[in-house]
Point group: C2
Chain length 419, copies 2
């Protein structure tokens, strides 16, 4: 089944707002084994919306429209769709009831215009919206589903997950399984070389390499009409991939490196302290992105100046002078100092040249040292990261977290696919 | 002039990669006074690319295609466009020379396939790419510009700025002026109420309200055929907006709050230290996002545990007990302690409930205290932020920076549009 997604919104077309709704929908619809064939974006103009619907009905098997279902005058989707499909708007009592109940529950006086959201094109079905007043709308037009969703991200995500995916999955009659293995520390080309033609032996399954700041994710999607067969292929792909590249996998699905490190610390009953120079707080920020990080995160030192490295972490002035602030001894002393001064079990240190200025021949921009000190031993690694200031900082933080993970779990400290 | 932008790339259509190229192009093309009428995304499929080009030529005045110009087999744009426009590919000697020179300069052996990038549709003009091998391509097809750009973001951005915008601006014969005023601390509705119908008196100019984590940006775009007239209108809009909402403007253009604070510190010759609880390093991270922040940023304390607040910042244990870690006295002592312990001129502190857990009736999730201590005085503010953990943390950091800015510049400490 080939789907067209139509985004409606002048703010998206202006380039000022990234279309994260589309990204969410595209990924969610994978679960329904439908393919996104086209994505079209138009502004809040009735003629353009109508043209997009006509075009979509010509070429796609189903249409999903997002945005323009609010109560304000520039929310034109409902009326434009009603016109182009010649399905006059009619009041849906159930939706109206839902809107009124919601207003009563919130104790708010909603503007009268909000009740326009209870108008549906003739023959449409409403999917009630738990998080707002605009329902999702399903119209079967000459046998083709035309689905309208509100543009508020949480509402769209909820309706897509609760209604759109199950509905389309049932229509396609296909079963889908998918999993993601997250790797860190090796290039896509190295993974590719190791994995090679393996996926060719997985009938109905595909492997995608998804590189980002944080490493390369490996995503397998298998589809077919026989659920057992799809599950068998997925299981086989999982085992074979794990066998090839297990050494660089740190997580599955959408689990982040900071979550994995957090879980490891909780498991071992350890606490953590950070000491950062070039990442300037990013490492601590990522660790505390995880709700409940206070169970294991004790404190962080952002030691930007040399004085702060000496005073807060006990880095030796002689080593700063002899080796420079960006050096292995300083990174080691930062990790050890963080640990000791915080009374934490584990310390992690980062020092480097994030650029764009400050590089030298010996230590060019992108030279970073990451270090760990823990009851399971201490270690330091020298990195050379190519990229912008943001890339260098993000990769440094990711690699430092991976070093902590590897040290605590007794894994080899350098990611490698050898052997 | 109504333009259609066509993004070519299966990775975009899969929802795994956000289309930041489109966002960049849309904003850049504003400078050429063209309107984006449609944005279409298709996968790396020759038929879909061809269909998008045919459709675009029917409805738009110009077409810009991005992506699919690389040397690998799934880079199909060049050939698909050549076919649909019946313009056979021909070797362009100048582009070939450029590719070979680049390879020689980098001292790399490039794969032979890279020379395919020197093939251009008959009658096309090449815009040489300073950052890569794939040139921008301009085809005037029956008088309509069809422009092809590589999908690598830096290359696209460079070619768009250097060639596409000037070329289209010349074609439209229209002059454009634009400016952005960045506000923080007040809602869009409050700005709207204050500004009201003002823009109706600016002929040829529009005002856009652009809300984000960081506040609401006000962007004015004026266009016309007479450059003097356009400049006059822009100047008037600028003055009138400044007059209405000056009290909440912190920067112009794309300047960030952390840059403004950094400039202020440099101007005054002050250094800064941070003390963070719920933001967990985000504030320090944002300050050090700015290259050269070491001129004024001394160090940061991420004091997640109560013990660290006491030991590192000298927060009084009695106040932690009496008022709780999320309280005005603790925020004040964090700011003052950071300042004193770091030997810095200015200290800034944040403590709050970022959620999703940890709220109480008295201090629900989103309750945050931000404080500043400086030679120009000390201050603390209580905030209530509605949103996710990420929103609460980002807004807290932004508001803390704004408080520093206001304190150092002798401005009212609470953002307000009154009076």
């Amino acid at each position: 089944m080939q789907i067209e997604i139509v985004t409606i919104g002048s703010e998206i077309l202006s380039g000022r707002t990234l279309d994260t709704n589309f990204a969410f929908l595209a990924r969610a619809l994978e679960q329904a084994s439908v393919q996104i064939g086209w994505h079209t974006t138009v502004g809040d103009t009735p003629e353009r919306i109508a043209e997009a619907v006509r075009r979509g009905l010509e070429r796609a098997d189903a249409l999903v429209l997002t945005g323009g279902l609010g109560p304000t005058p520039d929310d034109l989707t409902r009326r434009a769709v009603s016109n182009v499909l010649s399905r006059p708007l009619q009041l849906d009592e159930q939706v109206l009831e839902h809107i009124r109940e919601r207003a009563a529950r919130l104790g708010r006086k909603l503007p009268g215009s909000i009740e326009a959201q209870a108008l549906l094109p003739l023959g449409a079905e409403a999917w009630l919206n738990r998080l707002g007043t605009a329902p999702g709308i399903l119209i079967l037009h000459h046998g083709k589903p035309v689905i309208l969703l509100p543009g508020v991200p949480q509402e769209l995500e909820e309706l897509a997950t609760e209604y759109v995916v199950p509905y389309l999955r049932q229509r396609t009659g296909r079963h889908v399984e998918t999993f993601t293995l997250r790797t860190s520390g090796v290039f896509e080309s190295a993974l590719h070389e190791k994995i090679g033609a393996l996926p060719q032996a997985w009938p109905g399954a595909t492997l995608a390499y998804l590189p980002s700041f944080f490493g390369v994710d490996l995503r397998v999607t298998a589809t077919g009409t026989d659920p057992d067969q799809v599950r068998r292929v997925t299981g086989r792909a999982y085992d074979e991939l794990r066998e090839k590249v297990d050494a660089v996998i740190y997580a599955e699905g959408t689990t982040t490196m900071q979550q994995v490190v957090g879980e490891t610390l909780v498991e071992l009953g350890y606490t953590l302290a950070t000491a950062e120079s070039c990442t300037g707080g990013l490492l601590a920020k990522r660790i505390t992105d995880v709700p409940g990080a206070s169970r294991y995160f004790e404190r962080g030192f952002v030691t930007y100046s040399n004085a702060s490295k000496i005073e807060l972490l006990g880095v030796r002035a002689g080593d700063l002078e002899a080796h420079g602030a960006v050096s292995a001894p300083v990174a080691e002393q930062m990790a050890a100092g963080a640990c000791e001064r915080a009374g934490a079990d584990v310390g992690v240190g980062i020092t480097g040249v994030a650029g764009p200025e400050g590089g030298s021949e010996e230590k060019p921009v992108g030279t970073v040292f990451v270090a760990v000190a823990s009851p399971r031993g201490a270690a330091v690694r020298r990195l050379h990261i190519v990229g912008t200031r943001a890339t260098i900082r993000e990769r440094s933080a990711q690699t430092a977290l991976d070093l902590v993970r590897r040290q605590l779990r007794g894994l080899p400290l350098e990611p490698s696919l050898e052997g």
